[in-house]
């Protein structure tokens, strides 16, 4: 028996070698699924591990809070909150920066370092140089992104406009921080390493500049293990309220961490939906390859049974064949997945600028991909193997019953006008609809995945258009440290190049309805604003908010309010004014969850005279240079956002990522279409080789018989294209639904071009595999068919 099994295994090896084309087709599809799984999961694990280690090693705080000005002694009281391990106070401010040779305005966040030098929390990972001398007023460590983005080096000087006073600061160190993995300027959506930086300086220097001697305006907390950060936030907020607390946030809501976790979540989504598609197709393919092999090997099966091999042994033999094909795929998938996982992790790590990177696949991704890859193949093999097992030995000796075609009325009408080769194609499909369906589904899924990959640029353009063309029409936005009187806008209007000015007020606030609360902001706009308007992404504009709040539908959902309901507002500033506002209207947005209010109403409710702290400007492009020069002299300016620059940066940043992912998907989907079509053609060739050779003898040319063979695959692929587009739309819909967060909603939108590109790629891959499989036609043995009975 032992030697018997060896003989069967030898047969197995030879079968695999003989069918290597199809074995590879199945393996390629399994490999694609396994590779996607390993890539996404290993990148996810590695990035999670890296981020966790980064946070741990550099003591990323658990709770963050800002205040206007609080006395240093408050720190001791904060430390008494149960569960608080470490408290560190800081001075944090926004400032504008001048760099030699850079015309466009740059902003930066200034962060103080304690007198001891090394902070307790949110520590710096120094990449070059040293920490500033705690007593020096002109030394700084600068965020690495910004240093590289602007070609700075140690010893360079930066002009920082601190609270209206310009100071030259020298770069003595280059660093990274877990707090600024994703360093986004206020009002920005993506990091811009050229136009936004972080500058760490000695506490003394910043206290002096911002008039915070013996006081702080920012506090970070580390908590004891197991402490609920939300509980600490709830205790911290009241303590900070009288000092102008702007509302504490837990690590989970910290913008940098939030972005990072969101990216990791996307990787997880990718690791589940897409590999499933590939492995389902792999199951189909295994099924059709084995079914054909078993049909061809009926005599061998009967012989094995006649020799006394048990049903189990015969079944195992064919199951092993399926497993061998899948195992090859899994191995290839492991290799590709691990390599791409490393590339992917490195890309992300570069994007997030981790100071170190652990590419640490947990091993689970390999085990999972092997289990599902082999499982899919076994599942696909089940039906075919069963047919081999139940075949009685005597029946197996006889050739299978001849293909039984019978006329039906539909057929008559359909094929009457067709030539014979086309008739052959249609009847083959009609006779084996299940197998035809497998091919159609396989190619359709390839198209679907491609549609998903190709629609991203459309999505990004839709979001950008809604945010930056339909809603925000200004060219630039200026931000100020302190609210300035309404009259101040006339001074802005007089700046060179300024065509129009509109005041904006943004007030951080808790919006509360019963037990539901949202920590966000209210944007005050003039009711007749033209530079920033309230746009509903479903395609209409809302008039300025006179009667109350105009809020995003996503925010209405969160607070469970409708138009006419009342929202309790608590301003997160020095006043902590509390007031109620009705919901005047809802509008659908893609980004964030804005709440708009008439700026006059906002000022009144905050107990302020008519003031604004941001201004939207319309500029004359011809006078851009003069404008940039002029704003350098404006005191109290904290931020300058040039819209065009933001849009370009977002396109560039997201575009790179999308390009890389699209390439992966194109590669895998093409492999999918290739595998499916190659297999379909090879099975057809195996079944109809005799017919085709007969036709060659009868005087058909190679191209004429190629038509019969490839026409079927082509027809099925053509049927698959529209179905694939539909399935792709479904997939996009599911994906769009799974990206429904408070920061982003993904619109369900697909460019018509995405369908075209997807179909073209799938068709090209199908055609390539058909051409490859066609070469077999040249080797048909014309003489053998004359002598053999099928």
């Amino acid at each position: 028996m032992v030697t018997g099994m060896r003989a069967l295994d030898r047969k197995l090896m030879r079968d695999l070698w003989r069918m290597r084309g199809q074995v590879i087709a199945v393996a390629v599809v399994v490999a694609s699924g396994a590779a996607l799984l390993v890539m996404a999961l290993s990148a996810h694990t590695s990035l999670s591990v890296t981020a966790e280690a980064y946070y741990e090693r550099y003591r990323f705080a658990h709770v963050f809070a800002g205040v206007e000005r609080a006395p240093e002694r408050l720190a001791a009281s904060i430390a008494d909150i149960p569960g608080v391990q470490t408290v560190e106070t800081r001075v944090v401010a926004f400032a504008t920066i001048e760099l030699a040779g850079v015309l466009e305005p740059i902003s930066a966040q200034l962060v103080s370092l304690p007198p001891s030098g090394e902070p307790l929390l949110n520590r710096l990972a120094l990449k070059a140089g040293r920490l500033p001398d705690p007593h020096s007023r002109d030394e700084a460590v600068v965020l690495e992104h910004f240093v590289e983005g602007n070609g700075l080096k140690l010893g360079d000087e930066i002009g920082v406009l601190m609270n209206g006073a310009k100071r030259q600061v020298r770069v003595v160190g280059v660093g990274l921080s877990p707090e600024f993995i994703y360093a986004v300027a206020p009002g920005g959506l993506t990091p811009d390493e050229k136009r936004f930086g972080v500058i760490w300086m000695g506490r003394e220097a910043l206290e002096a500049a911002y008039d915070l001697d013996g006081a702080f305006n920012d506090v970070s907390l580390a908590l004891l293990r197991g402490t609920d950060p939300e509980g600490v936030v709830q205790r911290l907020d009241p303590m900070l309220e009288r000092y102008g607390g702007t509302g504490a946030v837990a690590r989970a809501d910290h913008p940098s961490n939030w972005f990072l976790m969101n990216e990791l979540e996307q990787l997880r989504t990718m690791a589940t939906i897409l590999p499933t598609i590939f492995l389902a197709v792999a199951a189909f393919l295994t099924n059709s390859v084995l079914a054909r092999l078993i049909a061809l090997e009926r005599p061998e099966i009967s012989l094995m049974k006649a020799f006394g091999y048990s049903n189990l042994q015969v079944g195992t033999h064919y199951a092993k064949l399926a497993l061998a094909m899948a195992a090859l795929g899994v191995l290839i998938g492991w290799g590709i997945g691990a390599a791409l996982g490393r590339v992917n992790t490195a890309l992300y790590a570069d994007f997030f600028r981790f100071p170190f990177l652990y590419y640490r696949p947990s091993g689970a991704e390999f085990a999972i991909s092997a289990a599902v890859g082999l499982g899919a193949a076994l599942l696909g093999a089940l039906g075919s193997v069963r047919s081999a097992v139940i075949l009685p030995p005597a029946e197996a000796m006889r050739p299978p019953a001849p293909a039984n075609f019978r006329a039906n009325s539909l057929d008559g009408a359909l094929t009457a006008r067709l030539d014979s080769p086309t008739r052959i194609i249609l009847r083959q499909i009609a006779r084996a609809p299940f197998r035809a369906a497998q091919t159609v589904i396989g190619v359709a899924l390839s198209v679907a995945v491609l549609v998903l990959a190709m629609q991203w640029t459309g999505v990004i353009e839709t979001i950008l258009d809604s945010q930056f063309s339909k809603s925000q029409r200004q060219h630039a936005t200026l931000g100020f440290h302190e609210p300035i009187a309404y009259d101040g806008r006339f001074a802005l209007e007089r700046l060179p190049g300024v065509l129009a000015v509109e005041p904006v007020r943004v007030a951080s606030a808790d919006l509360r309805v019963g037990p539901r609360v949202h920590r966000g902001a209210i944007t005050g706009l003039p009711p007749d604003a033209k530079l920033q308007v309230i746009h509903d992404v479903r395609g209409w504009y809302l008039p300025g908010a006179r009667g109350g709040l105009v809020i995003a539908t996503k925010l209405a959902e969160k607070l469970n309010v409708e138009v006419g309901d009342t929202i309790s507002v608590e301003a997160l500033d020095g006043t902590h004014s509390r007031f109620d506002l009705p919901v005047a209207a809802l509008h659908e947005t893609y980004i964030e969850m804005p709440a708009y209010l008439d700026i006059a109403v906002l000022n009144r409710e905050l107990g302020d005279p008519p003031v604004f702290e941001m201004a939207n400007l319309l500029l004359d492009p011809a006078e851009e240079r003069a404008f940039y020069e002029a704003i350098k002299e404006i005191p109290g300016l904290s931020a300058v956002i040039i819209k065009q620059r933001s849009v370009e940066k977002m396109r560039e940043e997201i575009g790179d990522m999308i390009w890389i992912f699209t390439s992966f998907f194109v590669m895998f989907s093409a492999a999918l279409a290739y595998g499916v079509v190659y297999n379909a053609v090879r099975v057809a060739l195996s079944e109809r080789g005799r017919d085709l050779a007969t036709l060659r003898v009868l005087g058909f040319t190679r191209w004429e018989i190629s038509y019969i063979l490839l026409g079927e695959a082509a027809l099925l692929a053509l049927i698959a294209l529209p179905l694939g587009c539909l399935a792709g739309a479904g997939l996009v819909y599911v994906m769009a639904g799974s990206f429904d967060t408070e920061l982003y909603r993904i619109p369900f939108t697909i460019r018509p071009g995405a369908y075209g590109q997807a179909m073209l790629i799938a068709l090209t891959a199908s055609a390539a595999s058909a051409v490859f499989a066609r070469r077999r036609i040249d080797n048909l043995d014309l003489i053998a068919v004359l002598k053999t009975r099928e």
Partner: protein, 246 residues
């Protein structure tokens, strides 16, 4: 009888198809097999020849080379005096398409096409074909035109195959063991069909068989052994297929 080998240089001007010095060697060295060892033959228009010989005598190889399916190692096949051996792949395909009809032992019908459609397969690509229905009428299957192969008996399937072979009005009809898979009674019906199309269409008809009884219907019987023509005999009186049994 081997006298013909001495006439190698001269070609019968009435011959439609001729073989000169055909040699076919398969393999090389120790595994070398000489399937044909210098065969010379001429077939005249309207002739019905039966190639008789045991398995391995080289008759199938000869038929394949005559039909343009295989090429000789040495020698030449001439069709109306033109060398078929020199044909390109494309010209060989055209030769099979327009000039030669094949009938196989196992019929080789396309299962997904009806009897009429199997014939139409050939008429659609040839220049001056019979109508499929006419061709089927000729082999006595006028009533079975819309049946699929699975719905026909073996003899009927073979007659469809003959109709398919002759529908292009070939000048040469090559039949490789056309009754090999059939019982005697059904085989006779198939032979009648072959005899009839030979008579009515005038195609050179070469029938390969190892069944000596069939030889009685031929104009000429060519015996093959060991890759050579061992004997040739002309039938003074031919038997009608109905008179043949085995």
């Amino acid at each position: 009888m081997p006298a013909e080998t001495e006439e190698q240089a001269s070609i019968d001007p009435a011959a439609v198809l001729s073989a000169r010095g055909l040699t076919k060697v398969y393999g090389a060295g120790a595994s070398e097999v000489r399937a044909l060892r210098g065969v010379d033959l001429d077939f005249a228009a309207g002739e019905l020849a039966v190639l008789l010989g045991p398995s391995g005598s080289g008759k199938s190889t000869l038929l394949n080379i005559l039909g343009g399916l295989d090429s000789p190692t040495e020698g030449d096949v001439l069709f109306h005096g033109e060398s078929v051996t020199a044909y390109s792949e494309r010209a060989l395909t055209l030769y099979r398409r327009e000039r030669v009809g094949f009938v196989f032992q196992f019929y080789n019908l396309i299962a997904s096409l009806t009897a009429e459609e199997n014939v139409a397969l050939v008429t659609e690509i040839s220049k001056n074909p019979l109508k499929p229905a006419e061709a089927l009428e000729l082999v006595g299957l006028g009533a079975r035109t819309h049946h699929f192969p699975a719905e026909l008996s073996g003899g009927e399937q073979q007659r469809v195959a003959i109709a398919r072979a002759i529908a292009k009005r070939p000048e040469v009809l090559l039949c490789d063991e056309p009754t090999g898979a059939l019982d005697s009674k059904t085989g006779v019906v198939v032979l009648e069909a072959i005899e009839r199309v030979n008579r009515e269409l005038g195609a050179v008809t070469v029938v390969i068989t190892h069944n000596a009884s069939i030889a009685a219907m031929a104009h000429r019987v060519i015996h093959m052994a060991d890759g050579r023509i061992s004997a040739t005999e002309l039938n003074e009186t031919r038997l009608a297929p109905a008179e043949i049994t085995w």
